[in-house]
């Protein structure tokens, strides 16, 4: 049996059983299963929403078939375990692209829906769920249910961003995006502080499809909030030549020593990265994988954080409350925790369809912290105070630690969402944030 961990590898969690799924025509028999169940795709959720301690995981990686592809209209129907990578490899030669893609292509379509993921083009296209036309859900109480904006709309909206708790997604149909080539015209611009970032982002979001910023979170004082903004558009350079590169991998199952990610190493790395190009603006035309998925080149990069894993804290606050970003950065600088990577983006106004969807208009910041015990958790608690005070929310797909009160403050829609829970489904995340839920591990 393979290991079923989350991407952050915190907290530890062990399923009592794993049911591998291979065929849509051979669905799992929920009555055979005495534990609460949860679909598990590629384990790329950072926190515990993909974990089911003492429960049963439905491994969907065998549900990886394409069902229908309309190359004229750009509509793809595929099973839930298809990864974005295999979808891309199939649709790119026909000049189609994913309308929204997160920072890794190693997630499944089912996972992308359940977490209603977003990408560098949120300001133009909204979240992944905005482009899902329909899907079929397998429920323990109702059997197979077709969900779309026309059929079972309530269940559709609960399932998008529904963290896999409303049933098992068997297949989904996506509306793709027309492109003319696999290259991106990209620009990288250094900014010296947050004011400059917000100006740049406002100036870029109109004419650039993709924008995102890397923050150097090591310096304090005047240099707090400096970083590099990356913006890009699909290039008109036509090419049929699609190189396929394999990800390099760390030695399987081996963790880096914790000393690797420490204040001095991160400070040195960030300094080099920040000063990586001589001019303030660097332009290049890059292969889409290098633009969208730089981290995918190291297959097990989560193990760089060491044996105890890591936490990612991602929140969004309304645009007018964007000073909260500075406050959070300041808290980080004042703490002893090491922020290994932080990413900043301005979300646009496109409405997410999901009841529990995270993306909404505002500014989002994501930060990775190697887990170093209670002090890391304390810092996240202090972040929560800032985020709550500024009418923000935290991203459940990234979360492994927020309290139930905090979650329920962030997502008042959870009570309505609860009506759509599949009675046989459960997860570590849900038992944590809604502790009254029945299920294993409680």
């Amino acid at each position: 049996m393979r290991l079923y961990t989350s991407w952050g590898r915190y907290p530890p969690s062990n399923p009592a059983e794993v049911l591998p799924l291979s065929w849509v025509s051979e669905p799992p028999d929920f009555d055979q299963c005495s534990h609460p169940v949860l679909a598990y795709g590629k384990g790329r959720s950072y926190g515990d929403c993909c974990l089911n301690n003492g429960g049963a995981l439905l491994d969907t990686s065998g549900l990886d078939r394409f069902i229908r592809f309309d190359a004229d209209r750009g509509i793809l129907r595929c099973e839930a375990g298809v990864t974005l990578q295999s979808a891309l490899r199939m649709i790119l030669p026909a000049n189609w692209f994913l309308p929204v893609t997160p920072g890794t292509q190693f997630v499944t379509v089912g996972g992308a829906i359940a977490n209603d993921v977003h990408g560098k083009n949120h300001h133009k296209e909204g979240s992944f769920g905005c482009h899902v036309l329909s899907f079929e859900l397998l429920r323990s109480d109702r059997g197979r249910v077709l969900c779309s904006r026309e059929h079972n709309k309530d269940l559709f909206e609960a399932t998008v961003g529904g963290l896999g708790l409303t049933g098992l997604i068997l297949w989904a149909e996506l509306k793709l995006k027309r492109i003319c080539g696999v290259y991106i015209d990209s620009e990288q611009i250094r900014f010296k502080d947050l004011e400059e970032f917000f100006e740049l982002a406002a100036a870029s979001d109109e004419s650039y499809e993709y924008t995102v910023a890397w923050l150097d979170c090591a310096p304090t004082g005047k240099r707090l909030g400096r970083g590099i903004l990356t913006r890009g558009n699909h290039s008109n350079t036509r090419t049929s030549n699609i190189p396929v590169k394999r990800a390099s991998s760390l030695v399987r199952g081996l963790n880096a020593p914790e000393i690797l990610i420490s204040r001095p190493t991160i400070r040195a790395f960030n300094w080099m990265y920040f000063h990586g190009h001589f001019r303030r603006i660097a332009t290049s035309t890059v292969y889409f994988e290098n633009f969208f998925y730089p981290l995918d080149r190291v297959a097990d990069w989560n193990r760089l954080h060491g044996r105890r894993g890591f936490l990612q804290y991602q929140f969004v606050v309304p645009y007018e409350k964007r000073e909260a970003v500075r406050e959070v950065l300041q808290l980080t600088a004042d703490s002893r925790e090491v922020c290994a990577l932080s990413v900043l983006k301005v979300f646009g106004a496109v409405h997410s369809v999901g009841l529990l969807s995270f993306p909404r208009p505002g500014v989002t910041l994501a930060m990775d912290f190697p887990f170093r015990g209670p002090s890391t958790l304390d810092l996240c608690e202090r972040f929560d105070e800032v985020v709550k005070r500024n009418a923000g929310v935290v991203y459940p797909a990234k979360d492994a630690r927020m309290s139930s009160e905090t979650f329920q403050t962030y997502y008042p829609g959870w009570t309505k969402f609860s009506e759509f829970l599949d009675p046989r489904f459960g997860s570590d995340f849900w038992r944590r944030v809604v502790p009254t839920t029945r299920g294993a591990g409680t």
Partner: protein, 246 residues
């Protein structure tokens, strides 16, 4: 050139991945398996992945009378075949095969009898065609009888011996016979086993089978390191081997 390939046991985990490799080069595929719904799902998937044409044929391989029908149909539909893969099989539960003759017989029927019956039919038509590749799934389990799975292992050893003889017979006709010996592969057949670092993914194994059919070799281990693992295991003296709980 568009390859025309017959896949017997097309819904198995390794065959799925091998078929996808052929689909990516726009081959024509003839899929045979027992379950109609699974066949249809596989065919749709392979067409979308680039296969120029996909035909399906529903059959139970323990119905031997069907074998000649299947093979003849596969040969006639595109006027010949460039390759055939026999990928069906089952991993019997060793203990029940020891206790229950019916289970023992079933294991041998599925993993040996049906395989050699299909090989004989394939040999006839490939020999007449005077080119092509026949690949058949063996297993590292066939390299030495181990107490944990010698029923399965013996059927695979028999397939290996059969394939060696058939290879010699068909060589003058220019037809190649490839024996594929996978080690542990994560597929539906092995999902109940506890996986360790020696397990290969079905993608890895399926691609290996594809490569072995494109540039044929007599015997191929998947992944390659099993050749050396099994060389060691075969060289252990019998008294030592008997003491090991393998």
């Amino acid at each position: 050139m568009t390859r025309r390939v017959l896949i017997l046991g097309a819904t198995s985990g390794i065959a799925r991945e091998t078929s996808r490799c052929f689909a990516a080069e726009h081959a024509k595929l003839f899929l045979v398996a027992r379950d109609q719904e699974k066949l249809a799902a596989s065919a749709d998937d392979l067409r979308i992945r680039g296969a120029e044409s996909v035909e399906t044929f529903q059959a139970d391989f323990t119905d031997y009378s069907e074998h000649s029908v299947i093979i003849e149909r596969a040969f006639s539909i595109w006027g010949g075949l460039d390759g055939a893969l026999i990928a069906h099989g089952s991993l019997p539960d060793q203990l029940s095969a020891e206790r229950d003759f019916a289970a023992l017989r079933r294991a041998i029927e599925t993993n040996y009898f049906s395989v050699v019956s299909l090989l004989m039919e394939l040999a006839k038509l490939f020999e007449a065609q005077r080119n092509g590749v026949i690949a058949v799934m063996g297993s590292v389990a066939g390299d030495r009888g181990r107490r944990s799975n010698y029923v399965y292992g013996s059927t695979k050893a028999a397939v290996a011996t059969f394939a060696a003889g058939l290879r010699a017979r068909l060589a003058p006709a220019g037809v190649q016979v490839v024996l594929v010996k996978p080690g542990w592969v994560s597929t539906p057949m092995t999902e109940h086993l506890r996986q360790n670092f020696l397990f290969a993914s079905s993608e890895q194994a399926g691609r290996g089978v594809y490569k072995s059919m494109i540039s044929p070799r007599a015997v191929i281990y998947l992944p390659w390191y099993w050749r050396w693992v099994m060389a060691i295991i075969r060289s252990l003296p019998e008294p030592t081997f008997a003491k090991l709980n393998l």
